[in-house]
């Protein structure tokens, strides 16, 4: 509806259950949108406007809504992602080992045009629990390096440590991806919304309408 063309970036967060995907999202976004999150229901997607090099973009961060728990995320979740964030809990090695699988799963389901250069970001979460750490920074960094140098950040959703920095990087990479992903002309798609319906309710039977 809006006349100004907005840049909308879709970011999805993957990782085993319990690594803190939803918490990271909330820590990052809710500073601005606390009222949008209800603890009683799961998270949907959260949006945040960010400035990247003087450009205002809207980041839409999609939560798995728990559908990852039994490996039951549908292909619709992955479609059109501009960046994929892989999260593990650095106190639980299994969640780190799963990253490989989540990455493969993403590449197959989303089937980006250039899988080798699709932007991922890896977050080792729960960095505040240093005494319980089981996955060393060296081990994580090495894996990331082997996957075409994925950037790696250690974050804490609890203390907000590194969260802002990490998401800045995510937004930047997503924006870069958005520019490269559309080599062919894509016709505009339609979205349905209430505003549009309300608008058209008052639409008189125009002179050009047959009936």
């Amino acid at each position: 509806m809006s006349a100004k063309k907005k840049v909308l970036l879709k970011v999805i967060i993957l990782g085993d259950s319990g690594v803190g995907k939803t918490s990271l999202m909330n820590q990052y976004v809710n500073k601005k949108f606390t009222n949008q999150y209800k603890a009683t229901i799961g998270a949907d997607f959260l949006t945040k406007e960010v400035m990247i090099d003087d450009k205002l973009v809207t980041m839409q961060i999609w939560d798995t809504a728990g559908q990852e728990r039994f490996q039951s995320l549908g292909v619709a979740f992955y479609r059109g992602a501009d960046c994929c964030v892989l999260v593990h809990d650095l106190t639980v090695p299994k969640t780190f080992e799963s990253l490989e699988v989540w990455r493969d799963e993403f590449l197959i389901q989303a089937s980006p045009r250039d899988p080798d250069n699709f932007p991922f970001v890896v977050l080792g979460n729960k960095a505040d629990l240093e005494s319980k750490r089981k996955v060393t920074a060296a081990r994580a960094t090495q894996w990331c390096k082997s996957k075409n140098s994925i950037p790696y950040h250690e974050t804490s959703a609890a203390t907000a440590q590194n969260v802002e920095v990490a998401f800045q990087e995510i937004a930047r990479r997503a924006l870069k991806q958005e520019h490269t992903e559309d080599p062919i002309y894509l016709p505009e798609t339609l979205t349905l919304n209430a505003n549009q319906q309300n608008f058209s309710n008052n639409r008189p039977m125009g002179p050009d309408c047959a009936c």
């Binding site: 809504a65 292909v75 479609r79 799963s98 699988v101 309408c209």
Partner: protein
């Protein structure tokens, strides 16, 4: 073995199957604050209404046996997905037994002996799951006209996910109950659509575009002057009647309010008999044969030729369809003259949207999970009451209500009966647009257009990469024909003739693959042998509204998604009462919309200010308040 936690095994409603209707019910139940456990034996969403990538599609279509699970053929086709799935198996042992649960080979008596808690009883279900699609076949290069088909095939198979092929393609009217529910529930936020660009009628004189507006009628090159006058007169006379049908959108009224609004009841409007024949009415209006076909097939999208064996279109239904069509005109998108929407990547995305809404409201999802037994609790009066089910991993789920897709909850040795109404479908991949122009669009072929006449009208839905259904540079055509009679030895003869007729118009068009099948929705009523213990139990659960069986995707209408929301609403109402709110707007969606509207307002004000500033050559007014004050 068990994956689900004890807490997750407690549900108010268990839903088996992730087709569109099942997913809408799941979302509605979760939205109402109740606990939902949603299972599907397949490894992808969508059930009978799924949209498949190319490899899975070939595996599905190439395997004509009906009694196979949707995921079964996948590995045989060398599916890429086996790659990470193995990864999962390696890392996460509990996921290992994802198909052919060991119970499948056991005889029924053995399966009966699952361990159940005190006072409960287990009723074994058949491990077979069947589908409503029969006589499937898939061929590369069916007309043997292509050089280098092997190369083309490899090229396409290299990126099978560039395809999203609907088994039962569906369109939505721009304004319809389903669209209202999508908007109200917030599911629309997950989806994107393409508007239909145009509609054509294939006649003996060729492909003719259907004029939908006054200027189009005026400028039309095919209609005679007399026909143009007839058509305009008809439209003018029917206008007051039809526009009264274009009632307020449910997105404004609230979905539940809108559901209470009745259809047309004003008998006097045109002096027509509402239950009378539409065909006869059109004849009375002195419309030419061709115009009658235009209105009936391409505007009312009626599926049946006027022969005795077929259902006949009543004036009431025709006016309802006309109303749906007209009230949807011009709603979405410029340059899309047809008021129909195609969901990007197919109808499977829509059901996934509902599952997401359900998950957001604490619904629990587990694919690759089959029910092996129903559980019943013995009541004090000695009757058995549905109390839950057992999964293929042996998890005991506690739930008092159950929703199951048509292919679920079957008994051994009881064949499903199909209704006589079925839809013959053919999907082809072509190298150029069969309807002459690119874009998502529709073509109808009235029976008399070909000589000898077709048995029934044929609908052709053209899709291209803009719909997300196929890669750039390719075109999909979904041809379909409803039928009642026995399919006979050549059920697809008419579809082949229509395809041939369309391809004649562009001789260079290559047909890369062709897939044909019958869609035969099964009879929901006669699915169990009620003389058996299990069958009798399930029948009673059905009557007591503790169990609901969801119909297969309807064969008719061939291309419109109208039935699913009705069915879902009915099932939800039968469980929790018709007065329970059905998918009301979630708070966070309302807040988003509000901030969206405010943003619009702000933008509008900015524009106004800019304009005023330009006109007056004065600095713009600083704030909204001041501007209001000036007005």
């Amino acid at each position: 073995m068990a994956l689900l936690t004890d807490d997750e095994c407690q549900a108010d409603v268990v839903v088996l199957g992730t087709g569109l209707t099942e997913s809408i019910v799941a979302a509605a139940v979760a939205r109402s604050g109740r606990r939902v456990l949603h299972l599907d034996a397949a490894e992808t969403y969508g059930g009978a209404g799924r949209s498949l990538p190319l490899r899975e599609y070939i595996a599905w279509a190439g395997d004509a046996r009906d009694a196979r699970m949707p995921g079964d053929g996948v590995q045989a086709g060398g599916d890429l997905r086996s790659l990470p799935r193995h990864g999962w198996q390696r890392l996460w042992e509990p996921f290992a037994p994802r198909r052919t649960p060991e119970t499948a080979e056991m005889p029924e008596e053995t399966r009966e002996q699952t361990e159940v808690p005190e006072g409960q009883r287990a009723f074994a279900l058949s491990p077979e799951r069947t589908e409503c699609y029969a006589e499937r076949s898939f061929e590369w290069d069916p007309f043997q006209q292509m050089n280098g088909i092997r190369r083309k095939k490899n090229e396409l198979l290299r990126n099978p996910s560039a395809f999203s092929l609907d088994l039962s393609p569906r369109l939505l009217y721009g304004r319809s109950e389903h669209v209202d529910v999508l908007i109200e529930s917030g599911v629309a936020r997950y989806l994107e659509f393409q508007g239909l660009k145009f509609t054509r009628v294939l006649t003996s004189e060729g492909l003719i575009s259907v004029p939908l507006t006054k200027s189009e009628i005026f400028q039309d090159a095919h209609l005679s002057k007399a026909e143009k006058r007839m058509l305009m007169r008809f439209i003018t006379s029917i206008q007051p009647y039809v526009s009264s049908l274009a009632f307020q959108s449910a997105a404004q009224l609230g979905v539940d309010q809108a559901a209470k609004i009745k259809g047309p009841s004003d008998q006097s409007a045109l002096g027509m008999e509402l239950d009378g024949s539409w065909r006869a009415f059109l004849q009375q209006q002195n419309l030419s044969e061709r115009l009658q076909d235009f209105i009936t097939y391409s505007i009312c999208l009626w599926d049946w030729a006027p022969t005795e064996a077929f259902p006949q279109l009543s004036c009431r239904e025709a006016l309802e369809r006309l109303g749906a069509f007209i009230s949807s005109l011009g709603l979405y998108g410029r340059g899309t003259s047809m008021p129909l929407l195609f969901p990007m990547y197919g109808i499977g995305e829509v059901s996934q949207g509902y599952t997401r809404l359900c998950a957001v409201h604490r619904g629990v999802y587990a694919l690759r999970t089959r029910a092996t037994h129903l559980l019943a609790q013995e009541e004090e009066d000695g009757t058995m009451q549905l109390s839950g089910l057992v999964t293929c991993r042996g998890e005991q789920i506690k739930a008092s209500r159950l929703v199951a897709a048509c292919g679920e909850l079957l008994q051994d040795q009881v064949p499903s009966q199909s209704s006589s109404q079925h839809c013959r479908r053919m999907t082809v991949l072509l190298s150029s647009p069969p309807l002459g122009e690119e874009g998502v669009s529709l073509c109808v072929v009235p029976p008399q257009s070909l000589d000898p006449p077709l048995q029934n009208v044929v609908q052709v839905l053209q899709l291209d990469f803009s719909s997300g259904a196929c890669p750039h540079g390719y075109f999909l055509a979904h041809l379909s024909q409803a039928s009642i009679s026995d399919p006979g030895p050549l059920p697809f003869a008419d579809l082949d003739r229509v395809l041939e007729e369309l391809l004649k118009r562009s001789p260079k068009t290559a047909c890369i693959f062709r897939c044909r099948y019958l869609q035969r929705p099964r009879d929901v009523a006669t699915r169990w042998d009620v003389s058996t213990r299990t069958g009798g139990f399930m029948e009673r659960c059905l009557h007591e509204e503790r169990l609901a069986v969801v119909s297969d995707p309807p064969a008719v209408p061939q291309l419109l998604a109208v039935q699913e929301v009705h069915d879902a609403r009915r099932i939800f109402g039968s469980f929790f009462g018709a007065e329970s709110a059905f998918l009301p707007k979630p708070q966070h969606v309302a807040e988003e919309e509000m901030s969206g509207s405010l943003e619009e307002l702000e933008h509008f004000n900015q524009q106004m200010q800019a304009q005023e500033a330009q006109e007056a050559q004065e600095p713009p007014v600083a704030s909204l308040v001041q501007e209001d004050a000036e007005q």
